[in-house]
Structures are given as C-alpha cells and as structure tokens.
Symmetry: C2
Subunit: 267 residues, 2 copies
Amino acid sequence: MATVVGNELKHIKTLLTKKGRKAHRQFVAEGVRVLEEAIRHGARPEVVYCADSMLSERGGEVAQSFALAGVPVKRLSARQEKGIADAATSQGILAVFASPEGTPAELCRPSIRKILLCENIADPGNLGTLIRSAAAFDFPLVCLSGACAEPYSPKVVRSTAGAIFAVKVAVADTDEIHALIRGRSMTLIAADGTGESDPPELADMVNTGTSVLAIGSEAEGLSGDWLHAADLVVRLEHEPAVESLNAAIAGSILMKRIYDLTHEGTS
Amino acid sequence: MATVVGNELKHIKTLLTKKGRKAHRQFVAEGVRVLEEAIRHGARPEVVYCADSMLSERGGEVAQSFALAGVPVKRLSARQEKGIADAATSQGILAVFASPEGTPAELCRPSIRKILLCENIADPGNLGTLIRSAAAFDFPLVCLSGACAEPYSPKVVRSTAGAIFAVKVAVADTDEIHALIRGRSMTLIAADGTGESDPPELADMVNTGTSVLAIGSEAEGLSGDWLHAADLVVRLEHEPAVESLNAAIAGSILMKRIYDLTHEGTS
C-alpha cells in the first residue's frame, strides 16, 4: 500500500467542508459499516485510506474488497487518520467518492414508483434517517428542496448507515421538481397536520403510477408551494400530548404505510 | 427579577454533567418550546433563568407564566447564559427541575395500558425521539434497561421536544422490569428481525391488559433476556436494500401500529 503525503491529507480535510465538497464534487464516507454498504450497492470509491493499527478484522476485509476491485488503497498512520476522521470513534477506514449529480428528471428512471420529497429538513441526523428509511421502504429517489442539510456531509452520510449508496439523491429547486411531477403525471401526497388521517383513497393512489411523498420541517411544516399542489394531504393521528412528531419519524411512518399498501398480498 | 451570582452559575454547570445530575437529583431543560411543553404538562421547575436581551416574545411569555405560578425567575446576562447553555443556538431561557424518580412498579399506574421498554439505546437523539413518540402514541411509561443514554441529559431532553414532561421514565435493572411484567400479567412484545411481520394476534394482544413493547439497539438487537421472555416477536418488513432500520424509527413505527390497533373505531 502507498503511504500518504501532506497534500493528500489536506485534500481530504477540504472534503469535510461544504465548500470543498462543492469545489471537488467529492465526499468522504467513514467507517466499516457504511463502506460495507457501499460495496453491497456497487459504489466505487476513488481512493480508500486505512490506518492498519486501528482496523478491525471486518475493516481489513472491506479494504481488501476495494483493493481487489482495483481501487487504490492507501495507508495512513493512526495519528493522520484521527486528524481527519469526523466521527468521534474512528474505525481506521475512510474513502473518497465522487458526488453523484443529476436533476430530478435525469435521476428518475421510468421504473421508479415512489419518490420522497424533503423540504427544509435542516437537521443532518433527520435527513440521513429519512434517506435510510427511503431505501428501506422502496423510495429509490429522494429530492431535496429548500434549506435541507447537504446530503454528502459526514453527519448525513453517517446517519444513512450506508443507505446513501442505495438511493439517488437530487438537490433541486421547487420549479424543477414541480416540472417533473406535472410532466410525468405523478401523484403528490403531502404530509401535514391539516390533512386527513389514513384516507381511504391513499391505497389506490400509491398503486397507480408514480407517487411523491412530501415531508416538511417540524417547525414550519410544508410550504404552500407543495400543500396547494398536493393531490392528497395526509395527517398522522397521534395523542394531543405532543404538538408534533419528529420529521424523520413522521416521514418514515408514512413511507412504511405506503410500502405496506403497495406490497399487500405480495409478502 | 433577582440576578445570579457565581455559585449559582457553577451549580447549573454541574447539572450539565452526569455526575452533577446524579448528586443533586436535578436536571436542566433549555429553550422556549421545551419549556412551553413543561407548562402544558404541569411540570414545575425549581428555578428559571432568563437572559432578557436574548429572549423572544414567546420566551418572555414562558418566563411570565412561571413567575405567575410562583416559580423564582432569575436574570442572567447574555454572556452568563451563553456560558452555560448546552444548545448551539441558545434562546435565552433555561430551567432547573427535580429529576423524577421511581421504580417501574411505582411509576406504573394501573390505568397504563402500553409501556415502552428500551434496551441499550445509547444514542441520546434516538432515546429522546423514542420518548417523544411514546408520548405521541400513548405509551405513558418508558422503562430503560441496560446501557441507555441518561434520560435527563441535555441532548435527550432536547430531542424529546418537551415530551420528557409528558411521560414517566424509569431507569431500572432487568429483574425489576421482569418482576413488573410477571407480577401484573403484562404481555411482552419484542421487536426483532427474527420475528413475524404484522402477526394477526397482535391486535388481540394489545387490546387485552397491559402490553410492553421492547426495542433493542441497532447494532446488537434485543438481548436473550427479553427475546426469550417475549409473548410475541414482531419484525418490520422492509426491503433488503438496507440491513436494518434506525432504532427510533423501528420503535416509533411499531408504537404507531399498536396505537392504531388500540384506537380502531374510536377515531
């Protein structure tokens, strides 16, 4: 394995900033589990960096898989690795990937039946968790509108637990997403406290054509842009003991509900 | 309003540590929304601290409500407040509460029909979110077993969005919780990947007597202690694209499912 010099370390550190990720169109994914998922979903990093002394057996296997696939695997000292790792408990392995890019229309293959639309989900943990649930419940495309957290920031990537490699993520403005929905006659389902709880028409809707589920921020909810354009507004029934649910929880419960409605009789 | 001296500041800072909270049996809750929820659920702080220059109108109303209820409200300078606030964006108001205490048996009123049991939920954000969902879906008692995050730490309190004041939380050892379940003939439902997806007997179970829903950590799942004692093991169906769901998501989806099963025909 090649060792790493100062300039390369500096480059990795740059990728831990939003500006650096934007300039280089690359991002960093850390940790054994996240990189195992990258392998599982066929995501190929540009470079892998390992600190041998910190690496578990599982971590060593991940490095070897990448090496066998022809990815350059370079060696860091434990001290170098700790200097660049973002997570509090580094596992001695990280990799640099090219940031996938594309408009919603480019990323939306005709076979996609369910899309998650996140508006103003600013908390990286919530966004990462929503991406993870999207992968779990068969929403292969996630569109981000408004002031969302940046999808390739270390915190978001970590919160997806590797699901960032299982779905497509499109950062887009409202008009682009509206154009996609109208252009392909998709159904827009908005999650909002003003809607109906478990409306009977939901099952038909999600089993016909492509559906877009829109989730807003906890503090503000969905903007009028999405609420007014919605074909259906759905509310999650809960006790009045709490004012609202966490946005990632509400979105995931609705994705699971739609997943069950589209898989009934198939399991 | 009285102003605050150094010793008092030092005491508040002590409560931001686990050791301090344990020694003094007190905790700190910060921010307008969390304290509005405290008011709504009748939780009475021992002291409230405000930095007037940082306080929004809503924050001022919260301080006034406490003052009218006879709670001492003391003034901090913005600098003092910033020195002790845990959240990145302080809202100029925090309050000290006595930590509620009690065994699961003491806290479990006979009217309680649903209990959430968390084992080894170490991430404060996940634990706080589970407590928030427990309040939303009518699980008025949350029992913590094993290596859970500390329920009155600032991060957990913040993640509950004030729901910490809406439910009872019992930190207990496995034996105490088993004794409660056996002693009162409760049904134990375990969430685990080895279980059955949406088992038909779930509806009858949760509508008869008191049910305990047990959730384990993402990495390890539930321990044999709970899995072997379970009356029913439930799995959440999802795509193989992800290995597992976030623990707070899995727990919340199951709480919502049980909530719906116990409220069918009543909404």
